[in-house]
């Protein structure tokens, strides 16, 4: 019998055309759209007199440059406001459902997709954003595309795609106390490097992955792109079905049962082979902190800043020197000796309710250190409401954190939430590139727990010993 991986199954089920000498045409079930990467795609449609083929399979929201302060005020950044207005006009013109800034469903596109039940196992999902890999946590094939491809999907509901390699990353064992999904993915990137997944669709397997909640799985899949992978995915299981049941766009009643039966066929067949496999042991993973200017420049919280002289290649030596100069760090410094000015808890990596609960547990009854400015930005309005219902906002405020409206915020600093030059930030987001959170800003990526603990002590701490 033919055995297949989950990726192969989803791939084959979506081929509109596949003849040997042509680029395959892949059908796209769901297209998510946001304000920053879409205007030029809609413009292209208009110029060529084309329609949106399936507005019913397209969903739009505003997240990247929305302000996270009082929403009843007009938007101060006029260019950002124009971009949002353009999205609203485009959605109206092409009949696409939009969760705009005033919608109770508004939020980061990768938070609201799963939250609304739009993200479903076995489907193909694209969005003009590289962290679309997040949706793979529910067993979907989900990946980021550029603006030309957005236009392509709008017009045809298809993409011209070459099949990728399939890379299994297997994590077995039990995660130690204080070690989170964020640490798993950072440790993986540290291991394989930021180009270690180039050209591949990663499937995360193993007992440690199975034990994760859906929100934790999203954190892992979210950062697949930081290892260069096209997509990351995790096979659906009972945890997945429970998560989806009852969500707004999820199938209901008998349809749901039938869908679950279909979804059960998705996991990789026993004996199917991957192009590559990597195995790690969960027990070996410690809380992670990045020290450099890409997510692969990462170490255990107990580690020290590396010495460029110890790097294996000349390129890496130069890159490390550049990174340390930018980050203003000296080789040999203990991670826990590094003090921060800012703390950001948010982004499509770590802004869901479980992330906020974990951070609140650390913040509860404590105070943000003097000289530290800390903010919490929920991933969606729904997460914000839930957190407020649980009183998490009170815990954060009492501890001195700012409590904001939903959006991408300081993950990329397109809105007014940015670092000033030279400021150092513990951030739960996914990219520590130069200038990512503001020109001259210095970003260290960590888990929500670690970020909250850093906020109260003023420097990085090992959450495992944090009392």
């Amino acid at each position: 019998m033919k055995t297949q991986t989950m990726y192969e199954k989803i791939w084959e089920a979506h081929l509109v055309r596949a003849s040997a000498d042509e680029v395959p045409i892949l059908y796209i079930d769901t297209h998510l759209v946001h304000e920053v990467t879409s205007p030029q795609a809609f413009e292209g449609l208009r110029l060529n007199n084309r329609k949106v083929r399936r507005p019913d399979q397209t969903f739009a929201t505003m997240d990247h440059n929305v302000p996270t302060t009082d929403r009843s005020l007009p938007i101060a950044d006029l260019i950002a406001a124009k971009q949002m207005e353009t999205l609203a006009q485009n959605c109206a013109e092409f009949d696409i459902p939009l969760y705009d800034i005033d919608s109770p469903e508004q939020g980061i596109v990768h938070v609201i997709g799963p939250e609304l039940g739009i993200t479903q196992p076995g489907t193909t999902i694209v969005c003009g954003d590289s962290h679309t890999s997040t949706h793979g946590a529910l067993g979907a094939l989900a990946f980021g595309i550029g603006t030309s491809e957005i236009e392509h999907v709008l017009a045809t509901q298809c993409l011209l795609q070459q099949k990728s390699e399939n890379f299994e990353i297997r994590i077995d064992g039990i995660l130690p106390y204080g070690v989170t999904a964020k640490d798993i993915i950072l440790a993986i990137i540290g291991h394989i490097g930021i180009d270690g997944g180039n050209g591949a669709v990663v499937e995360y397997t193993g007992s440690a992955i199975r034990a994760l909640s859906i929100e934790e799985r999203m954190t892992v899949c979210n950062m697949s792109i930081e290892a260069g992978a096209r997509a990351g995915m995790i096979a659906p299981d009972d945890t997945t079905y429970e998560y989806i049941a009852g969500k707004r766009f999820a199938p209901k009643g008998e349809d749901f049962d039938a869908a679950v039966e279909r979804w059960k066929q998705l996991p990789t067949d026993e004996g199917a082979s991957y192009d590559r496999t990597l195995q790690l042991n969960a027990a070996d993973i410690a809380p992670q902190v990045t020290w450099g200017t890409n997510p692969g420049m990462v170490t255990d919280v107990t580690g020290r800043i590396p010495d460029p002289a110890d790097m294996a290649t000349a390129d890496e030596k130069t890159a490390t020197e550049h990174a340390l100069a930018y980050m203003d760090l000296k080789p040999g410094t203990a991670i826990t000796d590094i003090a921060v000015d800012r703390v950001f808890i948010g982004s499509c990596t770590n802004s869901r309710i479980s992330d906020l609960r974990a951070a609140a547990e650390v913040a509860k009854g404590r105070k943000v250190a003097e000289n530290v400015n800390a903010m919490v930005v929920p991933g969606s309005q729904a997460v914000k409401r839930q957190a407020e219902a649980e009183g998490l906002d009170e815990i954060f405020r009492a501890a001195g954190f700012e409590w904001r409206e939903a959006g991408c915020s300081m993950c990329l600093g397109m809105n007014p939430d940015t670092l000033s030059p030279g400021q150092r930030c513990a951030s739960t987001s996914n990219r520590n590139f130069e200038g990512r959170q503001g020109k001259g800003g210095r970003t260290h990526l960590v888990s929500p727990q670690m970020a909250a603990a850093t906020a109260v002590t003023g420097h990085f701490v090992d959450i495992r010993n944090f009392q």
């Binding site: 990467t37 030029q40 550029g146 930021i194 180039n198």
Partner: protein, 193 residues
């Protein structure tokens, strides 16, 4: 899209690995709703000083590399976000081709769709070409897409790989959407399955 067949141009070496899309075009320039006007912001944070003056040390600002249309860079060029603003900025600045040991996936796809040719050559060849560009003022290369080859002034040729379809689209300046729409009947049949 403009067709790409053959190109002869000056070369500028950017001696860095993992150049990410946040460096190629920082996010403050992503708010435009047009496809144009990005070239002047290419590599903004490296290219300009705090006061807005050109950074005299950044390689693109060195007079000897003025007018370059071929960029040579380190491995994993274009990693990070899916923003197509990155190839738009490169193209609008005047680059026609980028040579590196490797490229990030989404970035590479985005290049093809904008008439820029991303060429992966071995790290040794890249180092050699980069050094030649540093040592020889006005160093030029010729790129022949039909032959899939990069030709040096001394006649040495380095061949590169490219998918048949990408090559076909670039050579003909083809609109991919038009291509897919020829198969509208297949798409409709798929949707009715």
């Amino acid at each position: 899209m403009e067709a790409f067949k053959e190109h002869v141009g000056f070369v500028v070496p950017l001696d860095r690995i993992n150049v990410d899309t946040d460096q190629i075009i920082p996010k403050q320039f992503l708010k435009r709703i047009e496809r144009t006007g990005f070239g002047e912001f290419l590599f903004n944070d490296w290219r300009y000083l705090e006061n807005g003056d050109p950074n005299p040390e950044f390689v693109l600002n060195l007079p000897r590399y003025a007018g370059a249309s071929i960029l040579i860079a380190g491995a994993n060029f274009g990693c990070g976000s899916s923003r197509e603003h990155a190839p738009w900025a490169l193209q609008q600045y005047g680059f026609k081709a980028i040579l590196a040991p490797s490229f990030a996936d989404i970035f590479r796809n985005n290049c093809y769709k904008n008439g820029i040719l991303p060429i992966a050559l071995s790290a040794d060849v890249i180092t050699a070409l980069s050094q030649a560009a540093q040592n020889t003022k006005g160093y030029q290369l010729m790129i022949d897409l039909e032959e899939q080859s990069v030709i040096c002034p001394d006649g040495t040729a380095h061949t590169f790989d490219i998918g048949d379809f990408e090559k076909y689209c670039l050579l003909n300046g083809l609109d991919e959407i038009g291509w897919t729409l020829q198969y509208e009947a297949d798409i409709a049949a798929f949707e009715n399955r």
